[in-house]
């Protein structure tokens, strides 16, 4: 219980740090830490497959993509940094949201949780992924193909005229 809440609090703190960091590289690394914390929450909630995917893809691949993109644009970003004023106001805004939400949101979420219908909880992730949700896999393959196509069309090979 305490560990669980600590992980959620850490995720919020890392997200705050990621948004408020002055350097984009720090932001990317803090985003990776948010991903690591989220994957630990998944393991804690009993979802190891989701945790493994989150850890390998979101904390690994996406961080590499972010760091690659940031290293390409870093010199210009450092020469012309954007205004920091809205980011300094973020802790205040988050605190106002947290205090105002404390009076309404938990009661609403309790009401929401009371509407639940329990599933039987049987089956394995293999059954769900390969038998029950097979069309999803087709969608995932098509999605990855769409991603490759976007990269291919954004960076076309230059042909000499």
């Amino acid at each position: 219980m305490t560990y669980h809440n600590l992980l959620f609090t850490l995720a919020v703190l890392f997200a705050l740090w990621a948004v408020m960091a002055k350097k984009l590289l720090t932001s990317a690394i803090m985003l990776a830490l948010v991903s690591v914390t989220v994957s630990l929450i998944f393991f804690n909630l009993g979802a190891p497959w989701a945790g493994v995917f989150e850890l390998s893809v979101c904390a690994g691949l996406i961080t590499v993509l972010f760091i690659g993109a940031v290293s390409l644009i870093r010199s210009t970003e450092e020469k012309h940094p954007e205004s920091r004023a809205p980011f300094y106001a973020l802790p205040l805004a988050a605190a106002i949201f947290a205090i105002a939400g404390w009076f309404y949101l938990p009661a609403f979420f309790d009401e929401l949780a009371s509407w639940r219908r329990l599933a039987d909880g049987s089956g394995t992730i293999g059954t769900a992924l390969w038998d029950l949700r097979r069309p999803d896999l087709l969608g995932q393959v098509l999605m990855l193909a769409a991603g490759v196509f976007v990269i291919k069309s954004v960076f076309p090979r230059r042909t000499e005229k």
Partner: protein
């Protein structure tokens, strides 16, 4: 207050931070970072709801699909960022007005 209500309260806070980042920033990289934080909050909601209804198997299958889509969206966004940076010389969303009539 149940443990799920507390979780979702903190998830709401996480989502607020992501939306604030997307609203306040003009840099494309920070827009994508805000999008990532919001999608992390959405993923946590899916798995938390799966744990609440004892249906984690389906929730994980859905989440794997979400992760694949997220990766493609971020890769496409970063590719567009690099292209826009090469064309405009900066990564400011307010300068992305090449198609303005």
């Amino acid at each position: 207050m149940s443990i799920f209500a507390m979780d979702w309260y903190l998830i709401a806070l996480l989502m607020f931070i992501g939306f604030y980042c997307m609203l306040a920033s003009r840099s494309i990289v920070r827009q994508l970072i805000g999008l990532e934080i919001v999608s992390k909050a959405a993923m946590l909601t899916v798995i938390s709801a799966g744990a609440l209804t004892a249906n984690l198997v389906m929730a994980q299958a859905l989440l794997i699909t979400m992760i694949v889509i997220e990766v493609v969206v971020v890769a496409a966004g970063l590719a567009l960022l690099v292209k826009a940076f090469r064309v405009n010389g900066n990564a400011d969303i307010w300068k992305l007005d090449g198609l303005k009539g």
